[in-house]
């Protein structure tokens, strides 16, 4: 009975979404207040319905209702309860349900927090989001219904959740990622609504900014979690594989990063209007493209999902309608937009413009690198692979100009500035970069120029970001958004430093070990104490106990090889001692003859900094959203008067542009 309620709620929700996409829009275009007034109630009702639906599916999982096909395929009575709940989004059907629920959540949040906006404008935004919901609801209902029953015969027990997903990282990774993906729909909806309403001024940028920051923050942490999960769960010590599915989440992130920066210019200076709209459309379009790539199975990826051409075709048609529609609308309206704002060559505007061009270039590289193998094969040139060697090469060049600009931009004033004014302020950056590089060169003996350069660029960013903070701080209290920027930029530097150091200083050995034997790596002695058999709730496992010593330092690591009975698959759980300066990492391979085991040991310096970078960036986005001015804007009656004129700029520049 419960699954039928969930299914029914889904069906009603589709009807509501269709109404939401049609009536408020007509109301807004034709000035009919009754129709405009329908928007918010429909949004809230939709959110309640989808929550019911999601709850019903979770209920079916929790109570092991194997008469539901999706539950039978992805759960098992021996599965611990928390994995039974997270199994809701463990496969195709349920993760799509989560997708639409999150869309409903964002839509409801927009409806709730946009009370001070003009009703017709909000109605347009909500209608666009309703339109987006239609496609995904229809997709769930007609091709991927999670509530389908196995009647009349149903299995005694389920086929279990994919063991790869039975992990804490994978409980939170997909919801965070989807919050990010779907969150870009808000900026998209604002942009499309602005195009529809013909109001492409700075207002829409101001309203989109906190939403974009929130989505970007979620996506950042989602990707970080995914990378961290791959690191400890796949047992290879890698943290990024340039897999198509990873690229699919990385592309909206790049677009989102560009969007955050260009929104700042559009909001504060009224420049880049048409470009910012395009970016807002692009960020969400790439989220949708990512969904398509993951769901259609048209690319070879480690993340194997059900590949079914009809499902793929459904999403493709939907992409053509949503993205194609938005871009057509853009083509017809954007040429009328004129940016009247003027600025000089050396100004914050131009530096942010360079930031955007570099990010756009990075985006194109990832997009091309992901899709070109497909094109290559389809036009008859044969199969090729584009992976780490290519992407690593390109990104190592790309980091150079991007990092240099990133550290300089906050010093430069809006509109016009002189290089001679800021030249002396850059000296700490040069100094610290030189010191850090020299220190690393002398102590680590780096033989790679590129890695050394990466380290010095990280030093350059860290020093200048902190110096800029210090200079601005000494002039008075800083708005939270300035702290946000500082955190995000430091996060980027931490990421660069982590990558550069890990790449050259990581060492590994792949050996054959018998209990009692010791292997040495960078002065750490890894001793395999014993391998014992351990029984888990739904798996049995060999657990290798390693003691690691280095002088006074002593750690105990447990590396496991788990055998999941129901799906008869083997998973590795790496044994890791995490530290800010280095990770010790052990993974257990195959059992060899006798008592011997294949073992891989790693020492990975600074690898934590990569995820630390992600966390810092996310904190940055939270600080930006928490800034007073957004709360002020929210409580203000009319959006057009929302900008308080005494408000400080994001950085030093704005008030001082009068020299």
């Amino acid at each position: 009975m419960i699954p039928e309620i969930g299914h029914f709620a889904l069906l009603i929700s589709l009807v509501f979404a269709i109404s939401l996409a049609i009536f408020p829009l007509i109301g807004a275009q034709k000035n009919i207040a009754e129709l405009v007034g329908l928007a918010k109630p429909l949004v809230y009702a939709n959110f309640v319905l989808l929550s019911v639906s999601l709850f019903c599916l979770a209920w079916a999982f929790y109570h092991n209702d194997f008469s539901v096909t999706y539950v039978a395929m992805n759960s098992n009575s021996a599965l611990p309860w928390y994995y039974r709940i997270s199994a809701v989004w463990g496969a195709h059907e349920g993760s799509l349900l989560l997708w639409v629920w999150i869309l409903a959540l964002w839509t409801a949040a927009v409806a709730l927090l946009s009370r001070s906006l003009d009703d017709a404008d909000v109605a347009r935004v909500l209608a666009v989001m309703g339109f987006i919901a239609i496609g995904f609801l229809a997709f769930v209902i007609f091709t991927s219904n999670p509530f389908e029953r196995t009647f009349p015969m149903f299995p005694v027990d389920g086929r279990d959740l994919n063991p790869l997903l039975q992990d804490i990282g994978l409980i939170i990774h997909p919801p965070m990622l989807y919050m990010g993906y779907v969150g870009f729909s808000v900026a998209f909806a604002f942009a499309v609504a602005a195009l529809l309403g013909g109001k492409l001024d700075a207002t829409w940028a101001r309203w989109s900014r906190p939403w974009t920051l929130a989505a970007w923050g979620f996506l950042t942490i989602g990707i970080t979690l995914g990378s961290w999960w791959a690191y400890y769960e796949l047992g290879w010590g890698g943290w990024w594989f340039w897999d198509p599915v990873e690229n699919a989440s990385f592309m909206p992130w790049i677009a989102g990063t560009a969007l955050i920066h260009s929104l700042a210019v559009t909001e504060k200076r009224g420049a880049f209007k048409s470009w910012t709209v395009l970016l807002a459309i692009t960020a969400f379009s790439l989220s949708l493209l990512g969904t398509f790539l993951v769901r259609s199975g048209i690319l070879v990826s480690v993340h194997a999902f059900a590949s079914d051409p009809t499902r793929g075709l459904f999403i493709l048609v939907y992409l053509l309608i949503v993205i194609g529609g938005a871009l057509t609308l853009y083509a017809s309206r954007a040429s009328q937009v004129v940016s009247t704002h003027r600025y000089k060559l050396f100004s914050r505007e131009v530096l942010l413009f360079i930031n955007n061009v570099l990010l756009a270039a990075a985006l194109l590289v990832v997009l091309l690198g992901t899709l070109l193998p497909l094109v290559h094969k389809e036009i008859g040139l044969g199969s090729i692979s584009i992976g780490a060697p290519f992407f690593d090469k390109v990104s190592s060049y790309w980091f150079i100009p991007f990092s240099i600009m990133l550290a300089i931009a906050p010093f430069v004033r809006w509109k016009q500035d002189k290089f001679s004014r800021i030249r002396n302020k850059l000296l700490p950056g040069v100094f610290f970069a030189a010191v850090l590089t020299l220190m690393m060169y002398l102590t680590l003996g780096v033989d790679s120029f590129m890695n050394l350069l990466g380290i010095s660029l990280a030093g350059w960013i860290i020093a200048l970001t902190l110096y800029e903070l210090f200079l601005t701080r000494s002039k008075g209290k800083l708005p939270l958004s300035h702290w946000g920027m500082t955190f995000a930029h430091l996060g980027f530097a931490a990421l660069v430093l982590g990558i550069a150091v890990t790449q050259f200083a990581s060492v590994e050995r792949s050996v054959r070990m018998v209990p009692g034997e010791t292997v040495e790596l960078n002065n750490y002695h890894f001793t395999l104490a014993q391998v014992k058999q351990v029984e888990g709730p739904n798996y049995s496992s060999y657990m290798g106990e390693f003691s690691v010593t280095n002088g006074d330092e002593k750690h105990l690591l447990f590396a496991e090889k788990r055998y999941y009975k129901v799906q008869s698959s083997v998973m590795t759980e790496a044994g890791i001692d995490a530290g800010l300066w280095r990770d010790l990492y052990v993974s257990l391979g195959e059992q060899l003859e006798g008592q011997a085991w294949a073992v891989r040991v790693y020492v990975k310096p600074f690898v934590r900094w990569i995820w630390l970078g992600g966390v810092l960036m996310m904190i940055g986005s939270i600080l930006c959203i928490a800034d007073k001015r957004y709360r002020k804007v929210l409580s203000m009656r009319c959006a057009h008067e929302a900008e308080p004129h005494n408000q400080r700029g994001e950085a030093t520049g704005q008030t001082a542009s009068s020299n």
């Binding site: 796949l234 290879w236 890698g238 594989f241 897999d243 198509p244 990826s301 480690v302 993340h303 194997a304 000089k344 060559l345 131009v350 360079i354 061009v357 756009a360 270039a361 990075a362 194109l364 590289v365 091309l368 690198g369 070109l372 193998p373 094109v375 290559h376 040139l381 044969g382 199969s383 090729i384 692979s385 584009i386 992976g387 780490a388 060697p389 290519f390 390109v394 102590t443 680590l444 003996g445 060492v507 050995r509 792949s510 050996v511 070990m513 034997e517 010791t518 292997v519 040495e520 790596l521 960078n522 002065n523 300066w581 280095r582 391979g589 294949a598 310096p605 008067e641 900008e643 009068s658």
Partner: protein
């Protein structure tokens, strides 16, 4: 801070493979060991979903790894081993795509974007210079003051 230097000190020491355990792929020449580790990370397992042969335990990946080891031990260069594998398994086996009229766009498209950027900056710089020489200094100051006034009013609104 003590710990940092401790660690940094440790990095400088090279791992000595002198203990009892047996290395999976032992090399005497560290240069060869480096080439081998690069190769197994750049060669793709042709049967797997998307893994290099270092990370894969598929049968064909084991064979390719052993072959790579054999060839590197024989003193073949990285390029030679890659050619050997591509000859047998096609371009798919190498994660670095070959350069042809299609894949060149991987480089050309982003580069042309950057080139357009440089062009834009140069053009703008020239225009500004022209503006400045045409307009007398006095007039410029006047216009600036006016513009600023307008702007400030705009911001107050």
């Amino acid at each position: 801070m003590h710990r940092v230097f401790n660690i940094i000190f440790i990095f400088t020491l090279v791992a000595f493979p002198a203990l009892a355990v047996e290395e999976d792929y032992p090399f005497e020449d560290p240069q060869q060991a480096k080439v081998f580790s690069q190769l197994v990370n750049e060669l793709r397992c042709p049967k797997c979903q998307n893994q290099n042969i270092a990370d894969s335990n598929a049968m064909v990946a084991i064979d390719l790894k052993n072959k790579t080891y054999q060839l590197v031990k024989e003193g073949q260069s990285k390029e030679q081993v890659v050619d050997f594998m591509v000859q047998r398994y096609g371009q798919f086996v190498h994660y670095d795509p070959p350069l042809n009229w299609l894949t060149i766009w991987l480089w050309l498209i982003p580069l042309s974007l950057i080139a357009a950027l440089v062009l834009f900056v140069i053009k703008r710089g020239q225009r500004e210079q022209k503006d400045e020489t045409q307009v007398s200094v006095d007039k410029l100051a006047q216009a600036k003051a006016l513009l600023q006034q307008i702007e400030e009013e705009g911001e107050k609104k």
